[in-house]
Each structure stands twice: as C-alpha cells, then as structure tokens.
Amino acid sequence: MSGVYEGITVVELADRRNQWAGKLLSDGGARVIQIEPLKGSPGRWCGPFVQDKADPDNCLDYWFNNTGKQSVTLDIERKPAQDLLRKLLAKADVFIESTAPGTLAAMGLDYAAVAANRGLIYASLTDFGQDGPWRDLHMNDTAHLALGGTMASSGYADPTVTPIAGKGNQAWHMGCAFTLHAITVALFDRMTSGEGQYIDVGIHDVCAIGTEAAVPHWMYFGETLYRHTGMHANAKRVPPLELPTADGKYVMAVNQGLSDKTWNALLDWMDERGVPTSELRDPKYQAEPVRTAEYRQGTLIRDAVRKLIAASNAEECFLRAQNMGISWAMIRAAEENYGLKHYEQRDYWRNVEHPQIGRSIPYPRGPFTCDALGIEPRGRAPNLGEHTRQVLTQDLGLNEQQIAALAAAGAVK
C-alpha cells in the first residue's frame, strides 16, 4: 500500500512525548528510524509488560506507539554517536526530538548545525516550546492536563472533590497531533519550495487551546465553569446526563431534540420497562417545542429517562436509542470494542505479528478509512537495537571494525 508518507525518512529521538507522532508517520509509510539510548527508550520501561515482567522488548505501551519503526541504539551523550546522528540527519527528511531546549545545541545538533540539509524538517515537541519563562519546568502528561486547563473542567460535580485527568497520555497525543499537522504542512510546502524548516511546538500551548468552551466563557463573559460528573463543565449547575444502567454500567444520555417519531418510540420503550408515561402522554408533549423545553429545563422527562435507563442494559440503551435517532452512548471499556460487528464491517482491526508471544494482536487501523492515504500499522515495534547494524552499515557505510570500535567506546550497542 502506498502511504501518504511513502518515501520519507524520519529520524526520531526516542521520547514518550513524541513517539505517537512517529508512529503515525510510520503507519503512513515513512521509514522511521528511532534513536534510542543504549538501555532503551524510556517508552520501553513504563509498562504494562507482557505478563507484567519488565523487559524492554515486551512493553505494551511501547509496542502500540512504535509500530513499524526501526530501532538504533546510540548513546548521543558521546561524541562519536553525535557524529553518526549528524550524518543520519544529513540525509533525513524529518527529524523529531523532545530534548530539553538547549540540549542538542550543546552537542552541535541543533537546527542551525544540520540545516545544510536544505530539505530537512526539524520538529521539536517539548513541554513549553523553546522559549518563555516556564520553559524549563518539570512536567509529565498529567501535569500538562493540570496546567493546560483540561482538569479544571473535568471531574465530579462535588466542588470538594479533586479535578480528574483522563488516562492514556492525552496531553502528549494533543502535542503529537499538532506536531504532525505542522510537519505535513512543511512537507506540502517542500514539494514546491524544496526547502525544509524548523518547527517548535509546546505541549502547554496546545493543551491551552484545547478546552472547548472554558476559554471563550472566561474571555467573553468572565465566567468560571462548574465541573459536572462525566459531562461538560458549565457556567450553571445542570442535572446529570451520565446515568446508571440495570447492568451496573453507565449511559451518556445526551440531551437533544426528539422528533415525533422518536418521542413516541421512546414512550413505548418506557411502557415496556414499566416506567410510568401517563403524564408524558399528555397531548401537549406531542408538540416538539414543548417537550424540548421540558426536557431541557424540567424534571418530568429527565426523571422518566433516568428510570428507563436504570431499567435497561447499557448495550440496549445505546442500540435502541440510536436506532430511534437519539445519540446516547454506552460508556464502554476500550476493550469492549473488540468483537463488535460495526468495526469488523469497516475492516478496522489490523493483525500485527508478535513472535515474542507467538501470535498476532489486532491493533486499531487508525483514524481514517481511506485507501489512498494508506495509513495502518506496518508491522510490530522493533526490539531494542534491532536495526543498529543495518543502519550503521547500509545507511552510514561503516565496516565491522568501525562498529566494534564504536561499541567498545560505548557509543553504540
């Protein structure tokens, strides 16, 4: 499959923050060479591991975020390794790195030092970007969701309970999405200009524009939002939409307008579940504006909906509501998406072979269904240093003696 990034060579300096961007480049057909420290990327040591046994080749978070890449171990603290990286960058199309600002300049590996490769797109994805008073603060993903504003809106309606950060390294994902957008713009430009450039992305900047209504509410109205359990923070206290089901799960019962057909189907469903509907069958609610107003502001329809959901299973709530045109969702565990016919019909899962465990695992294809873009995992993540020899000999033209000397000096492994 010819992917959108086919023919592009990417050098990625291993880091947990940038690896998802590199994965999406690899999934799009780029050759991604990940440069790792001799003991492996921090991404190999975070877990979870196969059978919970710490092993840099068996870290599942690393597996997911590094599909199709090549791994080269280089200790870039050492000068000979810096020279090798400089040579790789002389031929690369894209470089992604997340070191603390100033680190690579001290090694003679900043953009200015390698810009003789006129086509190189050099992207730095760091916590705060390359400048500013907070540039050198110590952060992790949760710290970004705190400082960037996500947490202030997320959590529980009880004002004494802590705000909550969602799991899954989402601040880093947001940073990667913008980094890759900018890289793709730069590649688009390079097709005509032939010129690369430097890209500076701060994760804090990205998070700060990613909180939907919170910023406009403050900017324009001077309002601070109340957190609401499982749903949008709001300038007013509003009733819950995250409602418990009969089977111990939750449904996100999005409040929306209900057409006549939907309304009557909903009432029938309530009757089936023994939810009293006599008041709701009052002819005045046959007028859509009246029931919409009641649903938004009153308690009558809300109470009935709450009872209906409490008397139904989550899967039924989702399927039955959606089939009558109501956009309710089941709060599903990620893994509960496996085996659903819809995703199989869309050919969503891609089996990736894992000799380590003697079988293949279904990975998500990616966000887009589009054969012309050709985005999907291109094989498993590499073992530590799996491609060191190949890159040193074939890309950098070193012979066995030179490699042995570098290894003896602790520059490669």
């Binding site: 980094t179 900047d205 900017m219 109340y226 269904t369």
Partner: protein
C-alpha cells in the same frame, strides 16, 4: 469588505475548501488550514445559520437573553465559539433544498480542492452528492466526512456528539476515581482533539492529492480515531487479559504505567470563583525528586521510613503518603507550591482554570497563544491561535470569523462569474 483569508500569502494559498461543517468537531479541520492561507468557504443554510453563531452563548453586546439572530440590526453574530472555530474563513449562504442551490454546490465543487462536512451519513447522498458524483464533477477533489462512527458499517446512521464518541471509545471510562462513576472529560475532548485529527487527515489528503494528482474520499470516524488514543489499554487486554473495567481502574490522578508515587492532586488553600477547591498536582518520578520533596516539606526523615524508602514501597503506601503531602499543601497557595517544587526539580503544576491561563499564565502570554484580532463590533478580542511555530512558513491568524453570508458577492460573483442580476435572482428565489 472581504475577509482576510486571501490577503496574506501562505503555504496553502491557492487551496480552496468548501466547508459544510457545523457544531464543533467539523469546523476545526478547515480552520487549521486557514492559518496557512487556504481560502475556506463556510456554507450556511440560506435564511438560517450555523447554530454556533448564537446557540451556545448569549449576546455579548445586548443585555437580553434572546439569541442574537432575532435582535434587529445585529448583523455580526458575535458568538464567541463561532469566532474561535471559523476565524479566517469566508461565509456564504445557500439553500441546499432547492435544486438550483445544489447546482451551485456542484459548480463550487468544480472550483475547490477539498470539500468537508460533518453531517449524518445520509445528508450528502440525499442531496445527490455521493462520492461518485463529487468525484465525477472534480476528479482531483478531496472529500472528507467527519462523523461519530463513519459512513459504512451497521452503525453508519448513528448520531454522535463529542461525549458519545468519548463514551464509546473507552476514553470516558478511563477517567475517574476508583469505585466512583466515570469522571470522563469535562468538555467534548473529541470535538477538539477529534477536530484536530480531522485537520491532520485533511492536510494529509491534500498532500497526497498534490503528489498523485488524484482526489480521494476520507471517511473519518471520530470514535475510531479515539480508539487509537487508548491503544495501550487495548493491548493490555489482548496480551494480559486485563481490561479497563476493573475495581482499581482508573485510579484517579495516580499513575498507571509506570506506577510511581507520589503522583496525585493535593488540595491547597482557597477556592475558585464558584467555590470549587483549588488543587495542585505533584509527582515524583525519581528517587532524587522524592528526596527533594521530603526536604521541601521539612520531613527529610520520610526517605528513611521503610514505607516510603523506595518507589515500590511508596506505591504500596500511597494512601498514607498522599495524606502526608496533602497536610503540607492544605494551607499553602497553589502557585507557591508549584514554584517551590519546580525550583527543587519536582514535577508540580497548579490546576489552572481558563481565567488563570488567559489572564496570568506568563508562558502563554510569552508564546502569544491567544492572539488579538480586530472585530468590527467587539473591537480587539483574543482568539485561540495555532500553536506550532514554523520558522520559514509561519502560521497566521488571518482575521475574525465572517459575518452571515458576508462573502456571497465574492463567491457567486467573482468566483462563479455570475452577474449582479443573476445573484439578485438567486436571492429573490431564496436560493442564497
């Protein structure tokens, strides 16, 4: 006056996008192109409007709860979030229920490089605009549909808002305190991040089209995109049989992988403007950081306590450790804690509200994350900009959001070459 989208040259100057998006998740994708000079034509229903023009917020300029659109003479439609989502775009009105309106859409398709929409799956085909038809009119065009579940498969007709996709993907469940209902995301994370991913797909498609000279159809499912953001959980289930629906998950703000402690939010002195407590997040990922924290708290002996001496021990005794740290932070001010911890090399961050970020955050001010744009009715107003800084082809904020049907004359006159009389006729027949 013409909006600024075609004033300043950018990487995407000459790229024209027909934008049928509305609500939140759709508009982001073309908005991200405006920063590079693409001409984005936002289409609104003739006689109506994108409901984000008024539905989300009340008027800024009139002390009346009535939405802007019914207030006589209010032509600017100053809804804040519309301004954020559509700045730098052009706006036209078009009646797609009228066959003449569809003819105009087809003429515009012939002149555009991309067409984007986030309607339900049946809307475009109902207008006769199947991919086959779009492709027939313009073989080079990129067509992207954004939807909750995609345009094929048994759920293709299902409706979705940001919270729907977050719930279905597994993201909502992966946020919360153990034993409590899911906390989820306090806004439509997938309308924002999902919108950015759509922007990425659109940019990728434009590049691929430039490379191959061929158009393509991009079926973007926001839920499928979100499932690529919880991949580690999927693999943990596949390999270790460990699901995310379990008693000890999610663990609030504690760390999952790697397990490190301390890693939590701690209450500080004070409350925000609506009475919610103030909190600070603190984490120690290394032994050195933990030793520094103990010293900072004036309790250096904690490091020697077998319950806290190693990370493994600390993880085991997190409740007790969190209580100790919480007692230290309780009477202190959140930014003081953050500064002292950071000076000692410890990960620490205040839970910042929108007010904190917009008014006081020195980093965001330095990086000009909220650029000021001139608005005809409001004067100088800040917007949420485009974060990446490109050295040679920088992104710009190309100006305010368009007013309703502001560019009908430019688009129908200049672009489609219609005469004033023809345009007047369209207006008369309520086509535009």
């Amino acid at each position: 006056m013409s909006n600024a989208a075609h004033k300043q040259k950018g990487v995407l100057s000459g790229i024209r996008v027909l934008d049928f998006t509305w609500k939140t998740v759709g508009p982001w994708a073309p908005r991200l192109l405006t920063h590079y000079g693409a001409e984005v034509i936002h289409v609104e229903r003739a006689g109506g409007f994108d409901d984000h023009r008024f539905a989300v917020h009340r008027s800024l300029t009139v002390d009346d709860e009535t939405p802007n659109h019914v207030q006589g003479g209010k032509k600017w439609y100053t809804d804040p979030y519309f301004n954020t989502l559509h700045h730098g775009k052009l706006a036209i009105s078009l009646n797609t229920r009228n066959p003449e309106g569809i003819k105009l859409v087809e003429k515009l398709i012939a002149k555009c490089d991309a067409i984007v929409e986030n309607f339900s799956a049946e809307v475009f085909p109902n207008w006769g605009l199947t991919w086959e038809r779009i492709h027939e009119i313009n073989p080079k065009i990129v067509y992207m549909s954004s939807s909750g579940f995609g345009h094929t498969g048994e759920w293709k007709g299902f409706r979705s808002f940001g919270p729907t996709a977050a719930a279905q993907s597994g993201l909502t469940l992966a946020s919360g305190l153990p034993g409590q209902p899911p906390a989820g995301w306090g806004y439509s994370y997938l309308d924002v991040m999902g919108g950015w991913m759509g922007g990425l797909g659109l940019m990728q498609a434009l590049m691929q089209a430039k490379k191959t000279g061929k158009g393509m159809y991009l079926d973007y499912s926001v839920t499928e995109g979100a499932m690529t953001m919880v991949g580690t959980f999927l693999l943990d289930y596949q390999v270790n049989g460990r699901g995310t629906r379990r008693a000890d998950f999610p663990p609030g703000n504690r760390a999952v992988f790697p397990q490190v402690a301390p890693h939590n939010t701690y209450r500080c002195s004070g409350n925000d403007r609506v009475g919610q407590h103030w909190w600070v997040f603190i984490a120690c990922e290394t032994q050195v950081q933990f030793e520094a924290l103990c010293a900072l708290m004036g309790q250096p002996q904690l490091v020697l306590d077998p319950k806290f001496a190693t990370n493994e021990a600390r993880v085991k005794h997190q409740d007790e450790l969190d209580a100790i740290i919480g007692r230290w932070t309780r009477a202190r001010r959140r930014y003081d804690i953050m500064r002292q911890c950071q000076n000692a090399g410890i990960i620490a961050a205040a839970i910042q509200s929108a007010e904190d970020r917009v008014e006081y955050d020195p980093q965001l001010q330095h990086r000009e994350v909220f650029p000021i744009v001139q608005h005809p009715e409001l004067g100088e107003v800040p917007y949420e900009g485009y974060p990446p800084k490109l050295s040679r082809t920088p992104a710009y904020v190309h100006g305010r959001a368009p007013t309703l049907a502001e560019h009908n004359d430019y688009v129908f006159g200049e672009l489609l070459g219609m005469s004033e009389a023809e345009i007047a006729g369209l207006k008369e027949r309520k086509v535009i």
